[in-house]
């Protein structure tokens, strides 16, 4: 990785980043290596001296973790992407609902479970917890959660009818064919969903900075938008 660039990116960015990398390679001739895994795993690896040049996290927490340990170049940290939290149901099964305080979640679940990421470990789960708390539903919902390790499987639970409802990012819905969005959580119900990017401390070589710039640029922004992300 002397000349090449290596980026560690959250697994939920897999397809969008793949396109960005391809586009960048076509444009600049520089190959970028990428590793997609849980933000937590990536952060720990960077802490352990992984040869990563950039870290593109799915939440602030693990970026903060590295920043606290001076493992990223603070000046290069930018909040790049945003996302929306949505309520999903199996395709064709349900009508739209407006998400607000006092909605009849129990009635919608009808004894079933609410699939989402594990609030303890998966960012989408954490946002879901915030939103449900805000809506006054957490006390009821906490015991009803089906906590997936990965958004992919929260989607599957809903798609396969194991869970009547799920909470995921709006960008995730594209992965699964058998689900539909039945409601969008209000922005104010949770802290803003954020994908920060930064250069790893001491690795800000010219090619790395160039790719960093490209991700922050408009060409990349178009790609991210195509995949449903809000671009900051």
């Amino acid at each position: 990785s002397a000349q090449g660039v290596t980026i560690f990116a959250a697994a939920s960015l897999t397809d969008a980043m793949n396109d960005v990398v391809k586009m960048y390679a076509a444009k600049s001739g520089v190959g970028v290596k990428s590793s997609y895994a849980a933000s937590s795993a990536l952060a720990r690896q960077i802490e352990s001296g992984a040869q990563a040049d950039l870290f593109f996290s799915a939440d602030d927490e693990w970026m903060d973790y590295l920043e606290k340990r001076s493992l990223i170049d603070k000046g290069t940290r930018f909040d790049r992407l945003g996302n929306r939290l949505v309520l999903i149901a199996p395709a064709g099964a349900a009508r739209k609902v407006e998400i607000r305080r006092g909605i009849d979640l129990a009635g919608l679940l009808a004894g079933g479970r609410l699939a989402t990421g594990d609030p303890a470990s998966v960012p989408v789960g954490r946002y879901a917890r915030q939103a449900l708390t805000y809506l006054g539903l957490w006390a009821f919902a906490e015991a009803k959660l089906a906590r997936a390790d990965n958004v992919r499987f929260a989607l599957t639970y809903v798609e396969r009818g194991e869970a009547p409802l799920g909470i995921v990012y709006s960008t995730d819905v594209a992965i699964a064919r058998g689900v539909q969005v039945i409601g969008v959580f209000p922005q104010e119900s949770h802290s803003s969903i954020n994908y920060p990017i930064a250069i790893v401390a001491g690795r800000g070589t010219a090619p790395v900075r160039a790719f960093h710039g490209f991700i922050l640029g408009s060409e990349a922004a178009a790609v991210f938008q195509r995949f449903g992300f809000a671009v900051r």
Partner: protein
């Protein structure tokens, strides 16, 4: 000393692992016997099928289980309609996931011990009037004991540690499906969860060690009975 949360995870892990071993044992015995003793076309394929859960990523196995045993899956749908049984998101489902994952390990162990049995002893039992089934239960099975035990221990330990298939198939529900590894995973994923993870890992270790110890004691007895090595 232990928090309720830890106790819950501990107890659940034990339950899931024990039930998993109990669930897979009869099938493993059958499969091991067939693989060790019977010659048939397509044996390698069957062998491969048995090993499948080992060679595939656990998450994928969990996913396939979801597709099969989920409410819309062929088997899951039937189970639900016939017995009102739901597996996804239940501890029973967790046991099934761990049973499937540890199945090849159990089969291997048992098969190995069947293959090391002197078939002359079974012949001797036959001349003494024992039918094939009788022989199996009075000669083959007891002589297989070390392998069966070893298989159970590996399966138990593997069940204690199984993560990917469980979390994928039955998700991570505290008190229902959150076994120790899932709890550890959650802790590790939290930036300051290291201490909690360490405690949980220690618990896991103690559990595994206890299982091993029990099995060692049984094995020593069995070995003494069988008149084996120098121990």
């Amino acid at each position: 000393m232990l928090t309720d949360f830890e106790l819950q995870a501990l107890w659940l892990s034990l339950k899931v692992a024990l039930r998993s071993v109990a669930l897979s044992l009869p099938f493993a015995l059958g499969a091991a016997y067939v693989l060790a003793r019977i010659r048939f076309p397509g044996k390698v394929l069957f062998d491969g099928l048995v090993h499948l859960p080992l060679a595939l990523p656990p998450v994928l196995v969990g996913y396939l289980l979801l597709l099969t045993f989920g409410i819309r899956g062929p088997l899951g749908g039937w189970l639900f309609e016939t017995f009102g049984l739901r597996l996804a998101f239940t501890s029973l489902g967790a046991s099934i996931a761990t049973a499937v994952m540890s199945f090849p390990l159990m089969v291997r162990s048992i098969r190995l011990s069947i293959e090391s049995i002197d078939s002359g002893l079974e012949s001797a039992a036959a001349t003494l009037g024992a039918s094939p089934l009788d022989r199996f239960f009075t000669i083959t099975l007891p002589l297989m004991l070390p392998g069966v035990l070893s298989g159970c221990v590996v399966a138990f330990a593997a069940s204690l540690g199984e993560f990917g298939a469980v979390i994928t198939f039955v998700s991570n529900i505290p008190g229902e499906t959150q076994t120790l590894p899932l709890a550890i995973y959650s802790a590790v994923q939290t930036p300051d969860g290291d201490a909690a993870a360490a405690r949980l890992a220690a618990l896991s270790l103690v559990l595994a060690l206890s299982g091993l110890m029990v099995s060692e004691i049984i094995a020593r007895r069995a070995r003494m009975m069988l008149g084996g090595g120098p121990e």
